[in-house]
């Protein structure tokens, strides 16, 4: 579908230099947040509001034989209780795999699975009532290891009752070119096993939902759900399906959000429960997760066990990649179908492969379900791939940056799996980190224990196809101007802290000449805003940005025409800048924008325009699954890490991470830097300390369901982060912009792994790089060195080496 945003007419080109794009801006909504005025979901309070709690399973796998709620219901202050019997319709974020119920219907599939929900006058009463609910379970054998789970042939032990292939959740096998031949005929074959540990999002705001019913829901009543979600549209759809209420009688509002990172990108039990309890009681019902519940709801990074074989020519060119991956999916599908594809499909840039094959299997296990976390499905394979490249560089005696340059796919290219790549600033990213870190001069001289490592990566700017098939636009924005001289922007997009509301304001500001404070962005309210698919797969800047630019340009034309008419000059001579309309050839002539808006309203009637964006549909391969992972534009990143490894303790101290990211065009400079820094930080945490695991010895309870035990980097842990912006504008992005929110996570992890190798000569191929693991590897290397099996690492530079 051709849209104006895809085919801008020459008339749309600005007639003057940008006055807002690329500047640093104060975010449109930050000051209220910092002053404690902003109301996040848990800050909302309605008259007569009840509080709800969810009773959760203590077993990892069990049949529910009976639930008796009578004692709980009899407790004073308890208003209603729901169980799985109230939610028989299954749902799932991916329409092909609806395999969860709001509460367990017949079986619980992991510790923490929801069983019943109570609404009471306050939380304490709800908690007391939960303790009075009697549930009789028949405990079943639980599977905590994905391979053991896949090997199970006893159907009665299949984990997910909706699963169609036993404990296999998804399998993908794709092959491009003659992989066996290209690898076996290569000059060098690098083969390795990698394990990426599961990690979780750790947004500081816990999930929360508030539901309220007006009128009679069996007739024309309206259900309003406020939720800390990053996908209000999908939540809207699933609420309608599960509660059997037409979507037009449900309103979903996403209040300002306290972080998400993928952890709030599908419906959760709390939204259904709060809604149902509000319908049953006629009172507003709020449900706030405890921090422990957030850990059990999870949907974080899949643990992946990866076996990689990569062939190289003597010159370091990749001849083929053969990847086998087992994904530990947990109890539900979540986004797993997509994750399984992404684990292979997103690997094919920034390097050119002559051939490629991947096989990925996702297993159900009796653990909290995994889903999308920042860099969905592609952070894990990137870890394996970039270490493979580093091993090849060492074996071939090629500088690791040079090896990556030699394999660079380049711009206007096609990947081995047939994705069309437009702009590509990867080589500039490499140049920047190389120069900033002093790689060339410093790397050869760093003593034993100190090292530099590099890695590269790519990510999508949204996906070309929406989650449920349809031909409507993927993003839409509506803008109104009024005689007070302001713009109101209505967008369904979810600002989750990444700054998308500010990004939209910057675009409107650029086009219409209003300062940011004259622009009100009203977002993520399904009654007020056009449909938007939400904050996932880094789609908002490109897609919603394009839609917004289109609507703003239509309005600009109207305003400029109204001014031009009164000044009797051509429209292109009128510019809108800094609250004024002015004549470009006679800068002394200007009129306040407010007045220009009045002229335009007098000429046209109410000033409102819409813009919409749909993706190009010709940028993917013609094979089953060939659309999954195809994007209008790809971002590129290079990370370079400097570490100090203490050979006495195995402690890895990351000193600095330099990161250069090609975001196409930074619409707002500091916000983009913040995304790059935040992503790099998050990768650093996964590399060094984070582990989202359950304990099989204790029936599958979470090993660390608190911020104390699930260690995330503090101010003191975090290395110096040096973010550098690279701009390779993409024809598909608004003003050339591509994503910046997820790409810059990927390569921070392998860059650290490669720096550890440079420092002490050991490969750490499993996450996290804990002191015990690093120390054991150093000891093993020393034994090999002593036996003369490997040369002494950095033999000329003994400074810092531990004595035997």
């Amino acid at each position: 579908m051709a849209t104006d945003a895809n085919n801008p007419s020459p008339e749309d080109a600005p007639s003057h230099d940008p006055w807002q794009l690329g500047q640093s801006h104060r975010k449109v909504d930050a000051m209220e947040r910092m002053r404690g005025i902003t109301r996040y979901t848990d800050d909302l309070k309605l008259p007569g509001m009840l509080h709800a709690k969810i009773l959760r399973s203590p077993h990892a796998h069990a049949r529910i034989k009976s639930i008796d709620t009578s004692k709980a219901l009899a407790l004073e202050g308890v208003f209603a209780i729901v169980t799985g019997q109230d939610f028989k319709i299954p749902y799932g974020i991916i329409p092909w795999t609806p395999d969860e119920n709001a509460l367990a219907v017949d079986k619980v599939l992991h510790v923490g699975d929801g069983v019943a929900a109570v609404a009471a006058r306050d939380e304490d009463t709800a908690i007391a009532a939960m303790r009075l609910i009697e549930v009789e379970y028949e405990v079943l054998k639980a599977f905590f290891d994905p391979e053991e789970s896949l090997a199970n042939t006893d159907r009665s032990l299949s984990i997910n009752p909706y699963g169609r292939k036993g404990n296999l959740s998804k399998r993908v096998l794709l092959e491009f070119g003659e992989v066996e031949q290209k690898i076996s005929g290569a000059d060098l074959v690098v083969e390795g096993d990698y394990f990426f540990e599961g990690t979780t999002h750790g947004a500081i705001e816990p999930h929360c939902a508030l539901a309220h019913v007006e009128g009679d829901m069996s007739k024309s009543g309206i259900l309003t759900v406020w939720s800390a979600t990053q996908v209000s549209h999908y939540l809207h759809r699933e609420l309608s399906k599960v509660l059997e209420i037409p979507a037009h009688r449900i309103r979903v509002i996403q209040p300002p959000l306290g972080g998400a990172f993928g952890g709030k990108s599908e419906p959760f039990d709390l939204e259904f429960c709060a809604a149902k309890l509000a319908m049953l009681t006629g009172r507003p019902v709020k449900l706030l997760y405890t921090r422990e519940e957030v850990f059990y709801s999870h949907r974080g990074r899949h643990p992946m066990k990866m076996h990689y074989r990569t062939g190289f020519t003597r010159e370091g060119k990749i001849t083929g990649v053969d990847a086998r991956t087992i994904l530990d999916g947990g109890a539900y599908s979540s986004f797993g179908l997509v994750t399984t594809y992404y684990s292979g499909q997103l690997l094919c840039a920034p390097y050119e492969f002559a051939s490629y094959r991947f096989e990925s299997l996702r297993a159900y296990t009796n653990k909290p379900a995994c889903g999308p976390k920042r860099g969905h499905g592609s952070v894990q394979p990137r870890f394996a791939m970039e270490i493979q490249l580093d091993k090849a560089a060492v074996a071939l005696g090629i500088d690791p940056i040079e090896l990556r340059r030699r394999n660079n796919l380049g711009s206007e290219s096609t990947t081995v799996n047939k994705f069309r790549v437009g702009s590509n600033g990867f080589s500039e990213c490499l140049d920047k980190v190389e120069a900033a870190s002093g790689w060339r001069e410093r790397k050869p001289k760093l003593p034993y224990g100190r090292g530099l490592g590099v890695a590269g990566s790519t990510y999508i700017s949204g996906t070309n196809y929406p989650i449920y098939p349809n031909e409507m636009p993927q993003a839409a924005v509506q803008i109104c101007l009024d005689r007070s001289g302001r713009a109101r922007v209505f967008s369904g997009a979810n600002d989750i802290g990444q700054g998308s509301n500010t990004m939209l304001a910057v675009i409107v500001s650029e086009e219409l000449g209003l300062p940011l404070e004259d622009i009100r962005v009203l977002s993520a309210d399904t009654d007020l805003c056009p449909v938007d698919l939400g904050a996932y797969s880094s789609r908002i800047t490109l897609m919603v940005g394009n839609a917004c630019m289109q609507a703003a340009q239509k309005l600009r034309r109207k305003v400029c025409a109204a001014v031009a008419k009164r000044w009797e000059i051509p429209r292109r001579r009128v510019a809108l800048i800094a609250r004024k309309a002015l004549d470009l050839e006679n800068p002394d002539r200007s009129v306040p924008l407010r007045e220009a808006f009045c002229w335009a309203e007098a000429d046209n009637g109410l000033l409102g325009e819409v813009g919409s964006y749909n993706t190009p549909k010709d940028r993917h391969g013609d094979y089953r699954g060939g659309t999954i992972g195809a994007s209008p534009a790809y971002s590129f990143t290079a990370h370079l890490a400097e570490v100090e490894v203490d050979p006495e303790t195995g402690i890895v101290d990351v000193k600095t991470i330099w990161v250069a990211h090609d975001c196409g065009k930074a619409l707002s400079k500091r916000i983009v830097e913040g995304q790059i820094e935040g992503s790099t930080y998050m990768g650093f945490g996964e590399a060094l300390m984070e582990q989202h695991v359950v304990d099989p010895q204790h029936n599958g309870v979470h090993a660390s369901p608190s911020f104390l035990d699930y260690r995330m980097p503090t101010f003191l842990d975090t290395p110096k982060l040096e973010a550098m912006i690279v701009e390779a504008p993409d024809a598909n992005g608004p003003y050339g912009a591509k994503e910046a929110g997820e790409g810059p996570l990927h390569s921070s992890i392998p860059a650290i792994a490669n720096a550890i190798y440079d420092a002490v000569g050991v490969r750490i191929d499993t996450l996290p790089f804990s002191p015990a693991k690093v120390l054991a590897a150093i000891d093993a290397r020393r034994e090999q060195e002593a036996a003369g099996l490997v040369p002494e690492h950095k033999s000329g530079q003994t400074h810092g080496r531990r004595s035997a």
Partner: protein
Amino acid sequence: MSEAAFLLSTTVNGEPVTVAAPHHWTLLEVLRYKLDLIGSKQGCDKGDCGACTVQLDGEPVLACLTLAAHAQGREVTTVEGLGHCHGGCHPLQDAFDRWTAAQCGFCTPGILMSAEALIRKRGRAVEHTEVAEALAGNLCRCTGYTKILDAVVDASQQMHPAPGKE
């Protein structure tokens, strides 16, 4: 509320306040549920994240770990009280705004309260390392901390200009 309540008399952001609260309630519960001061956030309710940080007699404390009764007769300052003496916006808030140091902003009220106490106690411009130490109990999951450090240092320099610079 079924539990016995007590009368808490305290000063919040300069105003004397008397409020009935259950004995087991924390200061965070009283602030958020009784006084509608929702600026202090609950990230964990266990003392692990720092989002609930307020000041008790000028000292940063975790409101989720402080029993409300502990505030009896003392002075509580929350983020809502931070801007009062500075025409509605404290130099820290202004610096955070300029540096884009708040992304989702959920950690920010707590961080501001810790940072204000640090700068006040030092009585001079502060440096990155001491800021990192003072804020080590405040988690931020969005920013990677870089811009927060820059903003706190910047604000402290605004509040305590180097001699000769003014």
